[in-house]
């Protein structure tokens, strides 16, 4: 591991300025991902600014009926929160389907968004990887790519985003609140993460030194009818092959509104807007769900080893939507 300086700032603005002159510096939250990557030599910060104790670890209801989550709230606390469990069950389920009890106790809400890909080549500094070392090439394109992206990838990178939580957040229309050198901003989750394009080294649109300080879940009348479903090879403690977060508003057998996001299929939590558009106002039926899912997946570009993800994603979407609509039981 590369040596680095450890700093603890007085407050958020102090933390931000601490990184301003440190282009290779990074924030430290729970550390479960960055420490791992530092051990692998993938992340090589020269300064770590510890922000875990600076940020709120509160979960509070907002005046408009939404919920504001401090970025330092550990994943386990967020998953166990009664408000989240009843009003945003998909989020609680997503958190609990990820990692292990021990990791969830350490990992923070803010940090969870910023997990880096589990692509084996990204993690192995002896292989080419455009995300780790821009311009070096993509080993996964013709390599071991069964866990890689089928949507929105580029010739430069086919990695997937590993977070379960972020997929649920995407389906729940969440925003992250950030503080950075250029002040505060509020970013919809859909816009937080990027597709790789020709800059796969950038996972998000955050600027250097910009810190996620909170997450806001807006009120959503039907968010209590939400689910997170995850397919993995091992029954627990494994990353998703494919996952789906969805929320649905059904009345008299008709989909009034719906949110769907996919995990394990793209460089970011994949908001399945085509599914949503196709289903709004349509009658609840497995055929409709299937047809909508197929529209979304018609642009899928599977690799040598991951073509299975296309039908798998379709099947999980159909299952989850059927389940939410009451058709599945």
């Amino acid at each position: 591991m590369k040596p680095y300086r450890y700093e603890r700032a007085e407050d958020i603005s102090g933390a931000i300025s601490a990184l301003a002159d440190e282009p290779e510096g990074a924030f430290l939250g729970g550390g479960t991902n960055i420490v791992d990557l530092m051990k692998l030599g993938v992340s090589t910060p020269d300064v770590l600014v510890d922000v875990r104790r600076l940020m709120s670890d509160d979960i509070e209801e907002t005046e408009d009926g939404g919920v504001r989550i401090g970025a330092a709230v550990p994943n386990s606390d967020l998953a166990a929160d009664p408000t989240i469990r009843t009003r945003y069950p998909a989020l609680s389920e997503a958190l609990l389907s990820g990692a292990s009890g021990q990791l969830r106790n350490m990992a923070t809400t803010g940090g969870n968004f910023l997990q880096r890909t589990r692509c084996v080549y990204f993690q192995d500094t002896t292989t080419p990887c455009n995300k780790r070392e821009p311009g070096s090439g993509c080993s996964a394109l013709d390599g071991y790519n069964k866990n890689h992206a089928i949507l929105g990838s580029s010739e430069h990178c086919v990695a997937t985003h590993p977070s379960d939580m972020a997929v649920a957040m995407a389906a729940l229309d969440a925003f992250v609140v950030t503080h950075g050198p250029n002040g505060e901003r509020r970013i919809p989750i859909e816009e937080l993460h990027r597709l790789p394009g020709d800059e796969p080294e950038r996972d998000t649109i955050l600027e250097h030194g910009e810190l996620i300080t909170a997450v806001e879940l807006p009120p959503m009348g039907f968010s209590s009818n939400s689910k997170y479903r995850k397919v993995r090879e091992r029954a627990s403690y494994a990353f998703a092959l494919v996952s789906v977060a969805a929320a649905m508003d059904v009345e008299d057998g008709v989909v009034r509104d719906v949110r769907v996001a996919l995990g394990g299929v793209a460089h970011k939590p994949w908001r399945a807007t085509k599914v949503e558009e196709a289903l709004r106002g349509e009658p609840v039926s497995e055929e409709n769900f299937r047809a909508a899912a197929e529209i979304e997946l018609s642009e899928a570009e599977p690799l040598s080893e991951n073509a299975y993800k296309v039908p798998l994603a379709r099947n999980v979407m159909v299952r989850t939507l059927s389940d939410l609509s009451g058709e599945g039981r």
């Binding site: 040596p3 420490v35 020269d46 990692a99 292990s100 021990q102 106790n105 350490m106 403690y237």
Partner: protein
């Protein structure tokens, strides 16, 4: 007998200590001369020149306070094993993928291999060794023994600490992915299995861990 053993690298306890099980426990394995009271700290002088960073921290480990100078890169696992000499938590993967390094950090179970010591100055750390009180085994220790919930034993200290931390989480009403919608947390087999799935056991003594943990939770 004594003569025959002369020169053996395993030191012997006074004959008074000799009795069946206890005797074996103290004598069978390892080489105690390497364990007793010999602290080994990272020699760090040579690294200072290229950006080596030291920090002074305090950790309260198993009830005892330790002032340490650690390299900022040191994890709690390495601080315990290499600076403090507590090798109860094990290094099975060093990447948070096996659970063998599980400790209680301020009462919560965590993977000590992914936890930077410098970020937890002043923290309270409990290892399996420290679960014992007044030299008595913790109920979870006893239950693992009674149920033969281990074989090689490498993952065991981590399993035991994890199980103790997990029961506290249940006590606090935390649901798991195995908890059904709207259900109160009760410790069914499925709950225990889901909640303990972050601790791998290659010998697969799982079937015996289940009743071992259950028995402690029922008390």
């Amino acid at each position: 007998m004594r003569q025959r053993l002369a020169g053996h690298s395993v030191p012997f306890l006074p004959p008074g200590m000799v009795s069946g099980f206890e005797f074996q426990e103290k004598h069978m394995f390892g080489d105690r001369q390497f364990a007793e009271g010999r602290m080994f700290a990272f020699p760090s002088h040579y690294l200072k020149g290229d950006g080596f960073m030291d920090a002074e921290i305090t950790l309260r480990v198993d009830g005892e306070e330790h002032r340490l100078t650690v390299d900022t890169r040191t994890t709690i696992l390495d601080a315990l094993r290499e600076s403090i000499g507590n090798t109860s938590p094990k290094k099975g993967c060093d990447h948070g993928q096996c659970g063998a390094c599980t400790v209680l950090l301020d009462g919560r179970r965590v993977n000590s291999c992914l936890t930077l010591a410098v970020a937890h100055d002043g923290a309270e750390v409990t290892t399996s060794e420290g679960l014992s009180e007044n030299g008595e085994l913790h109920p979870m220790h006893r239950s693992f023994m009674e149920h033969d919930a281990f074989q090689c034993g490498y993952c065991t200290p981590g399993q035991i600490v994890s199980a103790v931390g997990m029961l506290d989480e249940v006590e606090a009403g935390w649901t798991s992915h195995a908890t059904e919608d709207g259900e109160n947390v009760s410790l069914s087999d499925e709950e225990i299995r889901e909640r303990m799935s972050g601790n791998l056991c290659r010998c697969a003594a799982y079937a015996n861990m289940l009743p071992a943990i259950k028995e402690v939770s029922d008390r």
